[in-house]
């Protein structure tokens, strides 16, 4: 047992939190996991009280005036350094809630003790969340992710330094590569990742050439190999105003498939509503019109439409009949929006497509499917996400079982599921948050500010992750799960460090995750960058 201090007697020790004094020759830092054995009277046995250090304080013992420190420095006033640390209790075993006694030895929890302290021992299935500051593995309970007891992960953090997407891909990497975690379902478990910024996720299948050798030790510690994602399907929107189906990417075209939808699919599958996905667009009148037009389109022969403009003209000409008794103003409003959408999204919806199956995003073909939408207009982004999620959701509903799981990674949730307003995508995301657990659809959502997200999306996430937060944002109620000291820390977190809260562990844990083993930019993948692509390096600021 590695004793690092003793429970002190100048502050009240309580069953759920206590202070301990640290001798000068011991090092205690935030996040240390500690254990105290409390002996019960009259042969009542022992109670193990586990906890995590959340505050460490040093002061001059005996100093009364601020200037005493100078006198001590000059050798005039004898003062002692006193260090004390505060512990938030995470677990009491057996569950007899008694305070530790002043003088009881506080030990660093290691090995089996640490597993107990952080409930790792009771996790039947666990996945890696990262490493603690002292290079020990921190696990998450997979039962709270796979839907059996909970689902979803929500990640908040400032853009640029919070490395939200990288952490999301690290979590997926851990889930896919942990031996025995997914069992027989491993091959059928999928991930659908939307690449919303830069082209950083288009290199998941390439090894990272600048990864340092010592990172391998970290991966070994986590029980993970150092390699890129094994099975990756990459899709990028088809290039505008070109008949050839070329993916619209800057830094990589090799292995990237161009995606688009046929007008036939568009009509049959009722995708029209996703063109009207602006949160502020919704009025009940308009949605009634959209409903009716969709109905008619499913029955209409659209084979004559060569491109989306033709379809638009068809709708325009038929609207007076299709719209029924909708007011002229509503019809105009519908047309205005349709017109705007055509300009932004039209190139993704095509009449004549050779081998349409090749350009349909098939998230079942590979384990990880990356859908690039970063170059699209907002309206088109919403369309793609809305259509993809709806299709995937319907597919899962049809299959009727939760297994195998599908993970959906979506950044900038604030755009798609904002707190205010309504939109069809918000509807899908909310549906996913609330019913995804039973359908095996797991949302790994990320956003800069959780305070601007629909409450139910965050509330339904079992795992809440916080990267670097804006100081003002950290004070919002959405981060109530962070103790005050952790909130302060969230504003100074470095890239590669996250704070993770999960249902079983009463306090959020700080984790670090290793530098990605897969490339996150062209230079790391040693892929030749197309000249003049104009793509800025999204990870440059992490260097």
């Amino acid at each position: 047992m590695n004793e690092i201090g003793k429970v002190l007697g100048t502050a009240d020790a309580q069953p759920l939190d206590y202070w301990f004094a640290v001798p000068g020759d011991k090092l205690v830092q935030l996040d240390d996991v500690v254990a105290v054995q409390r002996c019960l009277p009259e042969g009542g046995g022992k109670v193990a009280i586990y906890g995590v250090v959340d505050t460490v304080i040093a002061r001059h013992e005996g100093a009364k005036l601020e200037s005493d420190v100078f006198l001590a420095h000059e050798g005039v006033l004898p003062l002692n350094h006193a260090i004390k640390a505060h512990v938030m209790v995470t677990r009491v075993e057996p569950e007899i809630f008694v305070p530790p006694l002043p003088g009881d030895a506080v030990c660093k929890a290691e090995g089996a003790q640490r597993e107990q302290a952080l409930f790792f021992d009771s996790m039947k299935k666990r996945f890696v969340l990262g490493l603690s500051r002292d290079r020990e593995v921190v696990y998450g309970n997979f039962e709270f992710l796979d839907g059996s007891r909970g689902a979803h992960i929500n990640i908040s953090g400032v853009s640029g330094v919070a490395t939200k997407t990288t952490y999301a891909s690290f979590l997926l990497y851990g889930i896919f590569n942990s031996t025995g975690l997914l069992g027989a379902e491993k091959a059928n478990t999928h991930a659908l990742i939307f690449n919303v910024k830069g082209e950083d996720l288009l290199f998941l299948d390439k090894p990272n050439t600048i990864v340092k050798p010592e990172v391998a030790d970290l991966y070994a510690k986590l029980g993970l190999p150092v390699q890129p994602f094994e099975s990756v399907g990459l899709y990028a929107p088809v290039r505008r105003e070109q008949d050839k189906m070329i993916p619209d990417t800057g830094t990589r075209s090799e292995g990237v498939l161009a995606y688009c939808w046929t007008i036939e699919d568009f009509c049959k599958e009722r995708y029209l509503r996703f063109l009207f996905a602006d949160a502020d667009d919704e009025t009940s009148h308009l949605s009634a019109v959209i409903d009716r037009v969709e109905n008619h389109l499913t029955r209409e022969d659209v084979s004559k439409c060569e491109d989306f403009d033709d379809l638009k003209d068809l709708i325009e000409s038929q609207l007076p009949q299709w719209a029924g008794n909708a007011a002229a103003g509503t019809q105009m409003s519908f047309l205005r929006r349709l017109e705007a959408s055509a300009a932004r999204v039209g190139h993704l919806i095509r009449g004549k497509v050779e081998d349409p199956a090749r350009h349909r995003i098939d998230w079942k073909k590979k384990q990880v499917t990356v859908v690039d939408i970063h170059s699209l207009h907002d309206r088109a982004k919403r369309f793609v996400i809305g259509v993809m999620l709806k299709r995937m959701f319907e597919d899962k509903e049809k299959s009727g079982t939760a297994q195998p799981l599908i993970f959906v990674v979506l950044d900038e949730l604030n755009k798609y599921a904002p707190r205010e307003g309504w939109s069809p995508i918000k509807d899908v995301i909310l549906d996913m948050a609330e019913r995804g657990r039973s359908l095996g659809v797991i949302l790994i959502g990320a956003q800069q500010t959780a305070s601007q997200i629909e409450r139910r999306v965050v509330a339904n996430s079992s795992f809440r992750v916080v990267g670097r937060l804006d100081t003002a944002e950290a004070q919002q109620g959405e981060y109530g799960f962070l103790p005050a000291s952790t909130r302060l820390r969230s504003s100074i977190l470095k890239p590669g460090t996250m704070i993770v809260s999960q249902p079983e562990i009463p306090i959020p844990l700080l984790v670090q995750f290793p530098f990605p083993a897969w490339a996150t930019r062209p230079s790391e993948a040693a892929v030749k960058v197309t000249a003049g692509s104009g793509i800025t390096d999204p990870f440059a600021r992490f260097k």
Binding site: G62, K64, L65, L71, A72, G75, V76, L77, P78, L79
Partner: protein, 320 residues
């Protein structure tokens, strides 16, 4: 014949206000102000005195409980349960630390009685050493405690004697047997001028870092050299004698060593002077000494806990 010891219920804080720190021996002895120099004027030693390890020794005492008993003749036997602490702060090369803290407990009884007592307080067993006081009155008991504390201080101080050291003790040096050690007594208050008015006039004019020349005090018992020095400049409304201390060393040290110590003290002691915000006895109660007293009082333990433990023990029955 053993008799039952009972508690005097008054809090020991209501102690007889007797002056035990002094006054200094009334008969000052024979004074010679010309031992160091014939010219009686302020001496300002050069600031670059040789560095020494500086030790400040002090003690505290506390009455834990007063007790009373009556012998068969009805004569009162006074007694006190008491604690005394003595310790040392060492300042060496820019670092100050508590180097030794001794705590003693005494059950001091009058009327020639003597009894040791062991009392369980908290998780500790406290041994009160039995002391028979030479006098029988309450004041005699407290004087007895004072002597025990002074002796304890002397024991602590003696353990720090050595080359390159200067030990500053609190008060006159009557309790020290060592005559040739580098030991300086610091007398915080001026009870006797020792010097005639003409010579004493210099004291008020001293500046910090200055001292009077040495003068010898010969009483054939504790012959010593002494000097006055200033620790801090008094504020305008304060008497010019504020901030003055008198120091003394044993004459057996020899004049040269005495001068060296006087130089050293004149240069170094003002650095340790306290300020009115820090100490009500500023500047004479030196910063390390004030801290030491506080530390010693702390080490005496919680007065309430100890008193309760004594009460419990007396309730169970203590005979002397």
């Amino acid at each position: 014949m053993p008799t039952k010891l009972l508690l005097d219920p008054w809090s020991p804080d209501y102690e007889a206000p007797i002056q035990t720190d002094g006054p200094e021996i009334a008969a000052a002895g024979e004074i010679d102000p010309s031992v160091e120099t014939a010219a009686w004027k302020a001496i300002q030693p050069a600031a670059n005195v040789a560095a020494r390890r500086i030790c400040f020794v002090d003690g505290v005492r506390r009455i834990e409980a007063r007790v009373l008993a009556q012998d068969d003749d009805g004569k009162l036997i006074h007694g006190v349960f008491s604690s005394a602490g003595a310790g040392c702060v060492v300042s060496d090369r820019g670092h100050a630390s508590y180097e030794r803290i001794d705590v003693h407990r005494y059950l001091i009884l009058g009327a020639g009685r003597q009894k040791a007592e062991r009392i369980a307080a908290g998780n500790q067993a406290i041994e009160f050493e039995g002391i028979a006081s030479p006098g029988d009155t309450q004041d005699d008991l407290i004087n007895c405690l004072q002597n025990l504390m002074r002796t304890s201080e002397a024991t602590v101080a003696e353990s720090f004697f050595g080359a390159g050291t200067c030990v500053f003790a609190d008060g006159p040096l009557n309790y020290f047997s060592a005559a040739t050690a580098p030991l300086v007594g610091v007398i915080k208050r001026i009870y006797l001028p020792y010097l005639d008015a003409a010579h004493f006039a210099l004291v008020a004019q001293l500046e910090p870092g200055e001292r009077t020349p040495l003068f010898s005090i010969r009483d054939n018992k504790y012959d010593r050299y002494s000097w006055f020095q200033r620790l801090a400049t008094p504020r305008l409304m304060e008497h010019r004698l504020a901030g003055i201390v008198r120091l003394e060393v044993r004459a057996a040290l020899g004049l040269q060593q005495a001068c060296e110590l006087a130089h050293f003290a004149a240069v170094r002691l003002p650095d340790f002077a306290s300020t009115p915000v820090r100490d009500p006895r500023a500047p004479q109660n030196l910063v390390p000494v004030g801290a030491l007293e506080e530390q010693l009082r702390h080490r005496l333990g919680d007065a309430m806990t100890i008193r309760r433990a004594i009460e419990k023990k007396i309730h169970e029955g203590v005979t002397v």
